[in-house]
Symmetry: C2
Subunit: 325 residues, 2 copies
């Protein structure tokens, strides 16, 4: 058996924990250390926890660093530094800034002789791959992305900032009738609000006026006002019992025509009990690809679009052809 | 703009016609000629039709040959010959013989300095890719493939061989309850007959005994006896009106768990009005990858598992990152 792939995790939030879990399911990896900006002694884990300031000591001892920080503040600052010392994989997901982030990562990694694989996960990630496949195979057509049923952190935060709200959560839910219209191949023009509705579960303070809260949510510009929004009041117990998971998912649908009115459809659906655990699992599979690219002597920035699926598997090409084709 | 990719089609049956249609949707290709074993004058097409015996004259004039023959007899004989002169892409789909076919194609193409991309289509092809992605991302889990609703040529032929049958067609149909059981994450053991039912449309001869035909179909070993089979008698007019398309499709579902009982599901569904037109479209997208690999100086046999999706698109990496990630 080949030597194990030695990895480090940077950041121990929900995503970092998802990566740690996934590594436990993949025996070809060895988790060397989890790096944190917090006090290592304050974190609970069976893995080795190390302060981020010691990361340079791990040069040459870790094959791939899995970056689990946030896209807004952490990754743009961390990633070039880390990528100058290690191969990296990250889940950078600020869509508008991807070209700029790629450029910086590419410069650093080419100079350092490392690989930096960015924007790995499911959107960007698996959903991007499906959009690319759909457009390439059915060039005369359209693609649609629906998100959900899943928790939107931004919308949940917006609810919790309202006076009289003790706790709350918001689910983005794709509208079935819109999905069916897309599936039919009618090629409708659909805005985000025509594709999704918003369902809120709110724990009010004891003395709060529920009607006022409900109206504030439903009329909140940008977040809710344009959408079909439902507000449900529940107890704190129920919220904690039924709404502390982080489910998510969605659909990428490509509808196209080939011959005269021959309709063809490719549809991918993800249905995830835990968004961070799934994203973590995707990061781990792509960490395998990073290691292989690096062993081949390749350097520079990459995205999922550049990686053959065979690089995601611990199996040989021969096994894959025999078992999966 | 780059020079167009010059392609040839070998074989002008349903699949060859599907490729020809698809090329018309992809302006970066130029169809140089369609090669046939039949008398070229006997075929109707706006494209140039050439007898296969003249194929050597096209060496250096065609970048990629798209092989559209059958897997049973045509491809095993044709493909090594053609691949010794041209880059090729084919839809070889005899699953059990893929390793052996790969080996022969790899030997020929390495010697000749060409690329041979095999088993392209949707199964093997896109379905294989999804099985690989699912297994890599969710290693603790199971995958299921359902085929249909679609025409099975072998089963339709079996019906037509029965005495008293004038014409007939068979649809393989996935059983919705089985799909739902899989989606639930129960990980059921399901045989092919528990996943699919068979629906037949039969045109009887005027004097035929329908009960006898029905029983012969329902009790036919291997083909129908083990399955829930429905036989419908229809008129020749109705068969020609409603059953001359070649629809197909199916599902690849991967269900897995990440954390303690966290269920995750990846599901791909294809819904195709025309199987040969869709398969032809997939071949054309992968012909683009073949051309690019060859321009990079690569040689040897490949499968879809080895090809990054970015190679399927006429767009640059920069455009793809900006538009699709």
């Amino acid at each position: 058996m080949d030597k194990k792939i030695r990895v480090g995790i940077i950041g121990y939030g929900n995503l970092g924990k998802g990566v740690e879990l996934s590594l436990g399911q993949n025996p070809d990896f060895q988790l060397e250390a989890i790096f944190t900006r917090r006090n290592p002694n304050s974190l609970q884990s069976d893995s080795k926890i190390v302060h981020i300031s010691e990361i340079e000591n791990y040069k040459g001892k870790i094959d791939v660093m899995i970056l689990c920080g946030g896209s807004a503040a952490d990754l743009p600052e961390q990633s070039p530094k880390i990528a100058s010392m290690f191969n990296t994989v990250d889940s950078f997901d600020t869509h508008a800034k991807i070209p700029e982030y790629f450029k910086r990562l590419d410069d650093v990694t080419r100079k350092a002789g490392t690989i930096g694989l960015m924007s790995v996960g499911w959107d960007p990630g698996i959903f991007s791959l499906m959009r690319l496949l759909g457009q390439s195979v059915l060039p005369i057509g359209r693609d649609y992305t629906f998100w959900g049923r899943g928790v939107s952190q931004g919308h949940s935060d917006a609810i919790r900032r309202i006076d009289g709200v003790k706790d709350g959560i918001q689910y983005t839910v794709p509208i079935e009738a819109a999905i069916d219209m897309v599936r039919s191949g009618e090629n409708p023009e659909l805005s985000s609000k025509e594709k999704h509705e918003r369902i809120c579960y709110v724990v009010p303070e004891a003395d709060a006026d529920r009607e006022v809260i409900k109206n504030q949510i439903k009329n909140m510009p940008n977040y809710f006002a344009d959408y079909n929004t439902t507000v449900n009041f529940i107890t704190e117990e129920e919220l904690n019992r039924s709404h502390k998971g982080m489910p998510h998912g969605g659909f990428v649908i490509r509808t196209g025509t080939t011959g005269e009115n021959t309709k063809q459809r490719i549809e991918l659906n993800l249905n995830l009990d835990s968004n961070p655990e799934f994203t973590g699992s995707v990061l781990v599979a792509y960490a395998r690809a990073v290691h292989r690219l690096s062993k081949e002597g390749q350097t520079g920035a990459r995205t999922v679009l550049d990686i053959p699926f065979s690089y995601l598997s611990p199996k040989s090409g021969e096994e894959l052809r025999k078992e999966l084709l």
